[in-house]
Amino acid sequence: MITKSWWFKPCRTTLHRFQISFFLAAAATALPVNLLAAPSTGEIREDIRQFQQFFLSRFPDVPLEAYQDGVNALPQYAQRRLGWELLLEFPPYESEMIAARDQWQAPLPSGGNLERCFVGKPPPTAYPYFFNGETHTIAGDINNCLLENGAGVLDGMSGEMARLVAAFKSPWSGQVMDIDFRSEEIRQLYKKGRQYFWAKRGQMNFSCANCHVHNAGNQLRGDVLSAALGHSTGYPAYSTTWSLDGNAMGTLHRRYAQCNALVGAAPLAAQSEEYIALEVYQAIMNSGVPIKVPSQRQ
């Protein structure tokens, strides 16, 4: 006897059975190809359009440029925004930036300095980019430069690295993000980052998107969740919470690690492949949003 249940519908006809096996066979042959192929530039452009359109229709009063301020731009944050504005009358990151610029121009053991290393490199709004067989991130390039000039590498989570990245980015503050995603490698990273962004993880089973897309602007206990659009344009940022520990400036990867820890997932190392992929994905999604470095975050 064939029993009907709400979750299982047995195959009744040969045709139906044939259809299912045909579909499975087709999926089995198509699957490996789909997993390996990088998304086309057209697909990425369509992703950008959909992603940005989602936020622009969710927060109709917030223009695209305003997303550089992170959560401070959202209407749900309006009652708290005044505190941020008052802080910017005498921005707490200023003394960090004075130290950062000194460090940026300080001579390295070989006689060169970081500023000279970055002459001829693309502007920070074009990072990460692919050139000469490898993917370049700002923190990676800084470490390469330090190595070439006989200095030790820095941890990508450290405040020192955050200050150096901020020193490189700050003159370009206000320029819009513009990533070149024509190369296969960047598109592969984009795909990996997109997967990382939308996949659930951790004890709380949250994906990045759960909070920052589906619930952007909603409250999580006492905090307003920021919108994923514009993430990374303000980093490295000066965070008040981090400043209480004495290490106030933090890189984007430090923030990623903190986010992972908050949802009960094991944080990864700075400059790990997953974080670089996520950085690529977010940078591409932010195409057209101006960067704002240094910035102040809660």
Binding site: E89, F90, P92, E94, S95, S243, L244
Partner: protein
């Protein structure tokens, strides 16, 4: 301990706004060091004085519930070019500091 002090003079209406930032821990006492678990002794700024050409223009008294790395400020009537503004402070541990700016 030497804590850095920075002073900013911003021209606004109806006067000049003076703001100073002191990189000071402002420890209210009774809190514990997260790493060692030891009680941190109280150390906070009690007094900040703004002077224009040696004349006291604002004197502030701070309690222990002012934030770490405090920024305090006030406004004085319009200054003229060449005026020298000095801010000085002292804390309960006996440290003090100052910064000065000349109005352009």
């Amino acid at each position: 301990m030497i804590y850095s002090t920075r002073l900013k003079v911003i021209e606004t209406e109806p006067g000049h706004q003076l703001m100073c930032e002191i990189r000071h821990p402002m420890e209210p006492g009774g809190r514990r060091d997260k790493a060692t678990g030891r009680l941190l002794p109280a150390n906070y700024i009690t007094q900040v004085v703004f002077r224009v050409n040696e004349e006291i223009r604002a004197e502030m008294l701070l309690g222990k519930y002012v934030s770490k790395n405090p920024v305090v400020g006030t406004m004085v009537s319009k200054l003229s070019g060449g005026d020298r503004i000095i801010v000085s402070w002292q804390d309960i541990a006996g440290d003090s500091g100052q910064a000065s700016v000349r109005v352009k």
